[in-house]
Symmetry: C2
Amino acid sequence: MTITEDLACYCQKVAEQGRRASRQLATLPTQQKNDWLQASAAALEANVDTVMAANALDIDAAPSFGLSDAAIDRLVLSKDRIKAIANAMREIAALPDPIGETISGSRRPSGIEIQKVRAPLGCVFFIYESRPNVTADAAAICIKSGNAVILRGGKEAQHSSRAIVEILQDTCEQCGVPEHAVQIVGTTEREAVGHFLSLGNLIDVAIPRGGKGLIELVSREATMPVIKHFDGNCHVYVDEAAAIEMAKEIVLNSKCQRMGVCNAAESMLVHSEVASTHLPAIAAALTEAGVEIRGDAATCKIVPEAKAAVDADWAEEYLGPIISCKVVESIQEAIEHINQYGSHHTDAIVTSDVERARQFANAVDSSAVMINASTRFNDGGEFGLGAEIGISTDKFHARGPCGLAELTTYKYVVQGSGTIRE
Amino acid sequence: MTITEDLACYCQKVAEQGRRASRQLATLPTQQKNDWLQASAAALEANVDTVMAANALDIDAAPSFGLSDAAIDRLVLSKDRIKAIANAMREIAALPDPIGETISGSRRPSGIEIQKVRAPLGCVFFIYESRPNVTADAAAICIKSGNAVILRGGKEAQHSSRAIVEILQDTCEQCGVPEHAVQIVGTTEREAVGHFLSLGNLIDVAIPRGGKGLIELVSREATMPVIKHFDGNCHVYVDEAAAIEMAKEIVLNSKCQRMGVCNAAESMLVHSEVASTHLPAIAAALTEAGVEIRGDAATCKIVPEAKAAVDADWAEEYLGPIISCKVVESIQEAIEHINQYGSHHTDAIVTSDVERARQFANAVDSSAVMINASTRFNDGGEFGLGAEIGISTDKFHARGPCGLAELTTYKYVVQGSGTIRE
């Protein structure tokens, strides 16, 4: 873990170790991966004191990083929180192994038999901020899906993360998991990230989890593919065929159930036919919940407490108690507005009309389209993935919640009996 | 097609048109896409003279581009070749529509019902060299999979490609396909490629097809994901449990059935236990077929006509009548050699031992692993994809032969009945 070589050499060595470990992990039996998850969970619980001592160092240093009280609270590891981390690892152990799954197969006229089989991506570079529970979580998801992982956590949680990783590494040997299956970058130097991102020949995918600045940096510099978790400017469209009560419930839940998350609604579109009936009721409920409404001219006419929206409001991810609101003349206008200003994350329609529900679902270009359901359902847990490493806002490779399967690729295994091509 | 604005503005406009067309294509009924394919095929045949006149301009200009006779031959469009292009479009019309396919689905305890549905990627930027048949082929594959396409062909085939695209565009209106579903870049300026590659906000994927230089350029400059078709350094490993006749047949077919293609074998590994029996027979057959053998010391001892291989030979894609050959002490050594020096494209084992076949299939990190079959089978046609836009050497998103499904993503369509999150 100490850095004796210069930084570039150090990063190269870590990546090469990750690459080699990934080759072994690709063929590691399911039982050994699960044994490691169970043993790691037990070891975390057995070493609560060590982890909490390391965590205390991070807490002590937190004010010097200018962390807010809320951020410090997220950093604190109690006995209960460590138990929760261990239990999350046990849950991942209980999930089916994605590796080796036959996705499809066929027998061809030439005589060959083809199987398309799920295989690991290889070596994952995971860059994240603050919360130390992510350290164990990311390691567990990567190993279960047969990938080696290089973890680069935030400096605010460096002691906690290292203590956790050392415990996970100690259980590798006893379970026959490769020594370098889980590595943590042993330096908080910012330049290390750039070095790793240049090693596209050794690292198969980079996954940044954190603020926009981090994700943009990684996207710009990475020489390997990136699974991005960008912003969520999510909409609820209240169709002319929406029941007023259902519309109110879904807007309220989408906006208010948890405000600071990517699948919370930031904008509401209301069909002009029902604007005068539905908008006042929905607006009153939002106002009561402390949400500020920023509306277009038509909205402001109907809702006196609304402030006038400016153009930038349509693209804004507030992550707080504000919602933009626009009256539209047609479902087509709603769809075009969402495709233009939205972030292709999660968008909902409230309607009793089956044909318009279908039109909306097909035409809105988002990772999840909700029909008469809250935007808050776009989530790995709610979707039943069992574990989640993020919600991809890309279309390529993985879209929406990313669980174990999204950290895999496939290969074709072709069998013949001396079969040659004519 | 004429360029009046400056180049950057022109590229921006083309990309915006492609983006808008992609929104319409995403919901275009299957029948309209198939009608367009059939009508385009018929129009190509009806306008054979126009296409051949345009092609004559390319042939005339070919010597000024320094094209070889073989390259000029690939450029020539005869009546028969145009008929073949039309028939390829009809075959794509006959394939199932990938869009709208439900990949999986579930009902969750919360009451929501989730469908994971196949959807188009959006707008494809396709960059290719020379052969004009690729123009129609790429357009057909993209439209059938619901994507808009911006074609950038080589200057050597510019007149032929434009004539073909104009015919395809003429049939758009009559079939209700968006006007800008298929566009061809109306300039041969090299800078245009760079402009398009900077438009990651409008273009969803770039697909280069051509030489290494082109692919490297696109990979380096693209701000959108790239489906790469890199080199194929494919191996045949002759295991100690390989029957001599089968080994000979598969090596010969993998190397010689067609030499200049990415799934041809470039290297042969032979287990030491059978080197003295199998190598002389295989080498004799290769030599008879005009193939030069470059061997390690052990090979050269057994095969007198072999030349000594240097280190660079193990990573070389000859694309011609040369094969490298190494004697290995174990299947593990073969696997490690392939994972280190190979290009993760296609690698074969010849063995009668079921356990070693399985070990090889699991551990070799390639898009296709062949067991007792020729490497030449890694091909969209042989795999039954029906149409192929390339063979991806990436692991991310698409691996191996890329047909219609590989030009798609998915979205989650979630239905509730006013369902909110607790």
